[in-house]
């Protein structure tokens, strides 16, 4: 308590010099708060989009699918899919299940043909995922049969349009070749010309694809979406138990969403770099302030050493001052950043143009995680303590007698 009191008094005594340090720390804190807060929200939105529109929380397949399913997809079909889907929907933590049956083949219009990939899906479930967004027309509906949403490039190659009919030719499960006619209800909205997956893709209704490849009531993937607020880890344990009981295997969304993970790592690295740069600048500023404070108090330190203060106690004194400076800077920074954040959030958030993360421009709010703010405070405090260690080391090197002679 003595050290904190003395530290606080010393800071107040040289308030103008110390204010500069406090303001500099608060600038750093503000920058990290806003950058970190925006990133946190951006990746929260990105995560939600990845889960809700693309991968779901879990994807279930027949055991062995992840190893050999791509080579022999028909050997790893989930038979009695509707029964398993029903069992899953009976679980109170599951919101909905999207069954999918993938295929590849040739699509032909009246005049042209092209290679395509696609899957059959449940209209209601797909309408809640990424296929709810279409460029033109509409997604396949619950009552639509032998209908499809098609990628823009495939549409162009086929010289087709919304409303026209294409014929899709594909291998059947048993090895034969089959064909179905699909009416185009809409085109898939795509994030760019390079997005081949969307550009050359077909979503058809599940019954049509099951008929195409002669696999009634079979799918290769069941995409499971959890209800809001469910514990992912708890749900994963339950899904694992369900899979064991039904000869299935599962993959989690974060294992599937490699792009999300890689992007998050890149942004996380940027944030760390920014944090390190700000902390390095801060450490020099704090050292400078404490050094000026030390230089103006060399004799005072010599005096307190003479009357019995140990080196460790002098160190505590400097550490106390540095902690007060750091905390004052953090509090000021958090206050300033919160106000700035409120203003930006009030105006709708930070604008992000359409990019690989999102097909449409979007806004992110500034809402940093509490643990992140706490971490920044701890980092600034640690940096301040390190700076005070440097000054204390210098103070201890000077003998008491020399300190008392200091002018």
């Amino acid at each position: 308590m003595l050290y904190l009191k003395l530290g606080l008094r010393n800071i107040l005594k040289n308030f103008r010099k110390n204010l500069l340090t406090i303001v500099m720390i608060s600038f750093g804190m503000t920058a990290l708060f806003i950058y970190g807060g925006s990133n946190t929200q951006m990746f929260k939105q990105f995560r939600d989009m990845v889960i809700h529109e693309q991968y779901g929380h879990f994807q279930l397949h027949t055991k062995g699918y992840s190893e050999s399913g791509r080579k022999k997809p028909f050997d790893y079909l989930i038979k009695n899919a509707s029964k398993i889907e029903e069992q899953l929907l009976a679980e109170d933590f599951i919101s909905f299940v999207a069954p999918r049956l993938h295929f590849s083949g040739i699509a032909s219009s009246d005049t042209k043909s092209t290679v395509i990939q696609g899957f059959g899906g449940d209209a209601a479930a797909e309408g809640r995922m990424e296929y709810r967004k279409v460029n033109a027309g509409k997604c396949i509906g619950n009552t639509d049969t032998f209908c499809a949403v098609i990628g823009e490039r495939a549409l162009r190659r086929l010289s087709a349009s919304v409303g026209s009919t294409i014929t899709v030719l594909s291998n059947m499960k048993g090895g034969g070749i089959s064909a179905v006619d699909l009416t185009i209800t809409g085109t898939k909205k795509s994030s760019g010309e390079g997005d081949i997956r969307n550009q050359m893709f077909v979503l058809a209704d599940l019954a049509a694809v099951q008929e195409l490849i002669d696999a009634s009531d079979s799918v290769d993937t069941l995409i499971v979406h959890l209800k809001d607020g469910q514990s992912f880890k708890k749900a994963e344990r339950q899904i694992a138990a369900f899979c064991n009981a039904n000869n299935l295997e599962y993959e989690t969304w974060n294992n599937l969403a490699l792009f999300y993970e890689r992007s998050r790592q890149v942004f996380s690295m940027n944030e760390k770099m920014l944090t390190i740069i700000i902390l390095i600048i801060s450490v020099f500023i704090i050292i400078n302030t404490l050094y000026m404070s030390y230089m103006s108090r060399v004799r005072e330190i010599g005096t307190i050493r003479a009357i019995g203060t140990t080196k460790k106690q002098v160190l505590k004194l400097f550490i106390s001052e540095s902690i007060i400076l750091a905390l004052a800077g953090c509090v000021l920074g958090i206050t300033a950043a919160s106000l700035i954040g409120d203003v930006i959030n009030g105006l709708g958030g930070i604008y992000h143009p359409s990019s690989v993360f999102n097909e449409e421009a979007y806004y992110t709010l500034i809402k940093p995680e509490f643990t992140k703010i706490l971490l920044y405070c701890l980092l600034f405090t640690a940096v301040s303590i390190a700076a005070s260690g440097v000054i204390s080391f210098r103070a201890m090197k000077l003998s008491i007698a020399d300190s008392l002679r200091w002018n």
């Binding site: 107040l12 019995g308 203060t309 140990t310 007698a401 008392l404």
Partner: protein, 220 residues
Amino acid sequence: MLIHLKNICKTYALGKAKTIALKGISVDIDDGDFVCVTGPSGSGKSTMLHVMGCIEDPTSGDVVIRGENTKHMNDTQLSRFRNRHIGFIFQSFNLISALNIRENVEFPLLIRDGKVDRDLVEYTIESVGLSDYVKHRPDELSGGQRQRVAVARALVTNPDVIIADEPTANLDSKTGGRIIELLIKLNQDLKTTFIFSTHNENLAKSARRSIRLLDGEIVD
């Protein structure tokens, strides 16, 4: 015997040049002594007091206080030893400017074990005549008052010896005289040993014992 200095030498090295401040001096100080150290500037007065006060190591020789040879103590032990056995009064008062008078006087007790005997602090401040100024900051006091605070700070730990390095040098002669009178009174009342240095021959006469230094040697 309270303090025994035996063959103390102190040499300062400034680059390649060496300055000999003390040339093998030996001094004994008894309990309750009131000793004045005199001598011209550069004679080694401050160095002797610093060595005696364990704030400067001698180049050679032994400092024995209350039977303990300080040569064998590490820095922390020396700090605690100073806090328990030695009080200091400095020429420029050297009060902690961020603390008020009471806090300055309390400080040596706080760094000892964190405990403060408020009655003792009040009594000590009263004994130097500053009861009305306990909440004042050092810069709100006159030079004489500040030096009284320094005296109270030195006294509050009830040390064996108080070492005062030219305690009147920054005071006018009248105020300086009063400070010496205060030290004499405290020496008589509390039997605390005082060792002070001064240039002022008149003040030196008030001491019961005088040590005169010249060029690092005791001449009288």
